[in-house]
């Protein structure tokens, strides 16, 4: 049988339509397409894709089951390794992970592993209504801090082995960045809620509105009888640029902008939480979060949206697919451009002028790429005299985050690095006995799947340590 050189296209809402609604962009494969795509797999012996997956899903096995129309079997294979298949199938950067290792990809396009994973998970979620059986308890208790991807993965893996797991979440809804950060059009909230429900059926308890470091401390969790604690509290405080004007009204961190729209549903027609919706928007930064913010701005009703990034397209760190989607939707990329000041309205004669203090623009300077820095990325340097003003009403700053101080400051003996990230061993163990950590709280802002990988590693170490104890 001849090899089909390209992946089967992912059906998606047309750009002009989707740019103005919050419904999911990518619509998913139907059964026929999924089977046809699964048949592209060469089933090579050394299975390089598996090593490219941070949670080592048995990829060729589930793909084979798709070709046999055994979709539920495929689902069971995936869930042996991943607690959140419907999430990963949507937000993983497969092009730099499993798919980048695909043998087929050497000469052709790799197998669309992510799209197949999504198909399998969605198929299961829409056909299987019976919750998974609760495993027999093994008598051990573990506390997980944070219900984002690392916490949910750690909790799920432990619950499947019979551990009694409680997840503590600071916000009012479980899901962490999956609910406050990643927009509905990329990851519908019903999908996250479904994955959380699955964990609850496995026996995981979720306690919302509890801020570890404030409501309870890590030490108190041990006093309460937990034998191990996993910290998956996420990245924390947003970074700002330190340029004049960042406190004008209309300047948001990406965290605030996305939280208002996603978690607090400011995108609704009649929201209870406000957000600035109109005019022109500049998003500063080039990561996935910047793409999410820019595409959210468009859907909120912005007239025009810019991505302002100081390096070139080659260095832009966002997933290719997100960049392409953003471009198709009409977002303008101002590359090799760096903001130097946020401009605001000031009417000194009329202090009560309602427009006072609102953003009017972003002063930027053109950049060019100079010598490579220590990471080998060419350092952007300003081009003298190239300043210009970009008239905008809203500025969203998406240049990363710094670790949250709440747990560190209330947990004695918890070692952190220079940047404030929690120091862990390869097994995810911190400097405190019985305390493990993973995800952005350790690495700083990274991906959903790497956080899941860390949650998985820690779960394995926790299980080994507690089961050995007997």
């Amino acid at each position: 049988m001849a090899i089909i050189p390209k992946k089967h296209e992912m059906p998606a809402q047309p750009p002009v339509v989707r740019a103005r609604n919050f419904r999911e962009v990518a619509l998913g494969y139907d059964e026929e397409t999924a089977v046809a795509e699964a048949e592209r797999c060469l089933h090579c012996k050394n299975q390089p894709c598996v090593s490219g997956c941070p949670v080592n899903i048995a990829i060729p096995d589930f793909i084979r089951l798709i070709t046999e129309h055994n979709y539920e079997g495929a689902y069971q294979v995936i869930t042996q390794s991943s607690s959140l298949p419907a999430v990963c199938g949507r937000v993983c950067p497969q092009e730099s992970q499993c798919e980048s290792k695909c043998t087929l990809g050497i000469r052709f396009e790799p197998v669309a592993i992510g799209r197949l994973e999504r198909f399998v998970a969605d198929r299961h979620n829409s056909t299987v209504t019976e919750p998974p059986a609760k495993p027999a308890p093994n008598g051990h208790r573990v506390a997980v801090i944070g219900s984002g991807p690392s916490g949910l993965t750690c909790a799920g893996d432990l619950a499947k082995q019979g551990f009694a797991v409680t997840v503590y979440e600071a916000l009012h809804t479980a899901g962490g960045v999956l609910v406050y950060g990643i927009p509905e059009f990329r990851l519908p909230k019903t999908i996250v809620a479904h994955e959380v429900e699955t964990l609850i059926s496995l026996g995981v308890q979720i306690e919302t509105n509890i801020i570890i470091g404030k409501t309870l401390t890590v030490d108190e969790l041990f006093e309460m009888g937990y034998e191990a604690v996993f910290i998956g509290s996420g990245a924390g405080l947003p970074n700002f640029m330190g340029i004049p004007g960042e406190s004008y009204k209309g300047v948001y961190s990406a965290n605030e902008y996305l939280t208002r729209s996603n978690l607090m549903r400011a995108y609704l027609d009649d929201p209870v939480t406000p957000i600035m919706k109109h005019g022109k928007v500049a998003v500063v930064g080039g990561g996935n979060v910047a793409m999410d913010a820019a595409r959210t701005a468009l859907r909120l009703g912005a007239e025009h949206v810019y991505i302002v990034y100081r390096r070139s397209m080659d260095e832009l760190p966002a997933r290719r697919e997100e960049v392409e989607h953003a471009q198709e939707e009409g977002i303008e990329f101002m590359l090799l451009t760096n903001p130097t000041e946020v401009l605001g309205y000031r009417n000194p004669d009329v202090p009560r002028d309602e427009r006072n203090g609102f953003v009017t623009g972003l002063r930027c300077i053109r950049m060019e790429l100079g010598e490579p820095d220590e990471k080998g990325r060419r350092r952007p340097v300003p081009v003298a005299g190239s300043e210009f003003d970009l008239p905008v009403d809203t500025v969203v700053i998406a240049i990363g985050t710094s670790p949250n101080p709440l747990i560190k400051s209330t947990t004695e003996g918890l070692e952190v690095n220079r940047r404030g990230g929690i120091v862990v061993t390869e097994e995810g163990l911190t400097s405190r006995a019985g305390v493990y950590a993973g995800g952005d709280a350790v690495t700083g802002a990274a991906t959903v799947i790497s956080a899941m990988g860390a949650g998985k590693t820690a779960a394995k170490a926790i299980a080994a340590a507690l089961l050995q104890k007997g």
Binding site: G236, P238, G250, T259, T273, P274, N404
Partner: protein, 285 residues
């Protein structure tokens, strides 16, 4: 769900709610705040803790009906529930190691100032209180303040009760007469706190202010509550939710903070009117 154990109207627009939240009650200290949502579709709003009862496992807040959420909150009755209630957040006010302090409260800010005055008193500090209100019928907590103060000035803007004038007047008078305070703690409207700082400036008395910027998560994630401090010629960004809410009053950029708090005034006005209409329609039904 968090049950409302008791409810008391302190005046026409100010209400106290006692809410069952044992874990928060166990931890909360003067100056800290909580975040609540009234119902499933509600916004997240911070309120400073007024009082706690560890035995009953309750936390009390005092609020003035100003917008949509406080209007909905005010409509809640004893035995009903709030959807979410999380805390305690922020760093507690430092109330130890002081000989003599002046606590200045303005309007509903007095509800936050009182537990701070009380904590000082319990730590053996000499407490002078200045509390101010627009008019007689808006006065709250008068007896409670008297109980924890060594001396007290009760001011009304219109002179309808107590002394006539604003809270800065007795402060300036005392400082001018050579009275010494280790610290002045000012809590109330932004403008009032700004003027207290200006009143104290010539005397160099340290002033601590409690900031109440717009917040969403309150846990150090969104950065919406940022305030700017002017320190040694540098402008420094701090987050009220994890670095505050108390700050050195001399360092705060009040004009910026006042402006930022007015970011959504139009939206808030509309939301308030909608909520009022909704509640009225429900009553009529």
């Amino acid at each position: 769900m968090y049950q409302i154990i008791s409810r008391k109207a302190l005046n026409r627009t100010v209400t106290m709610l006692e809410i069952e939240a044992p874990l928060v009650a166990k931890k909360a200290k003067a100056g800290q705040f909580i975040i609540l949502r009234v119902d499933e579709d509600g916004e997240r709003v911070p309120f400073t803790v007024y009082d706690t009862d560890k035995e009953r496992g309750t936390v009390s807040i005092i609020f003035q009906v100003l917008g949509a959420t406080t209007k909905k909150l005010d409509a809640k009755r004893e035995g009903e529930y709030l959807c979410d209630f999380a805390g305690p957040l922020g760093i507690a006010t430092e109330t130890t190691g002081k000989q003599r302090v002046c606590v200045v409260g303005g309007g509903v800010g007095c509800a936050i100032a009182l537990p701070i005055a009380r904590a000082f008193k319990e730590n053996g500090t000499d407490v002078t209180s200045i509390i101010g209100f627009r008019t007689r019928e808006l006065i709250i907590l008068e007896q409670e303040f008297r109980a924890v103060s060594d001396r007290m000035h009760l001011m009304t803007d219109d002179g309808s009760f107590g002394e006539h004038g604003n809270v800065c007047m007795p402060l300036v008078q005392m400082l001018g007469a050579g009275e010494q305070f280790d610290e002045i703690i000012a809590i109330g409207p932004m403008m009032m706190m700004k003027f207290v700082v200006e009143a104290a400036r010539p005397y160099g008395t340290p002033v601590t202010v409690s900031m109440n910027p717009i917040m969403i998560d309150g846990t150090g994630m969104c950065g919406g509550c940022r305030v700017t401090l002017n320190r040694n010629g540098e402008r420094i960004t701090k987050f009220a939710c994890v670095d505050g809410p108390d700050f050195n009053g001399y360092e705060i950029d009040f004009d910026e903070a006042i402006s930022r708090n007015r970011m959504y005034v139009d939206f808030e006005r509309r939301a308030y009117e909608n909520t009022c209409n909704l509640l009225r329609a429900r009553e009529e039904r």
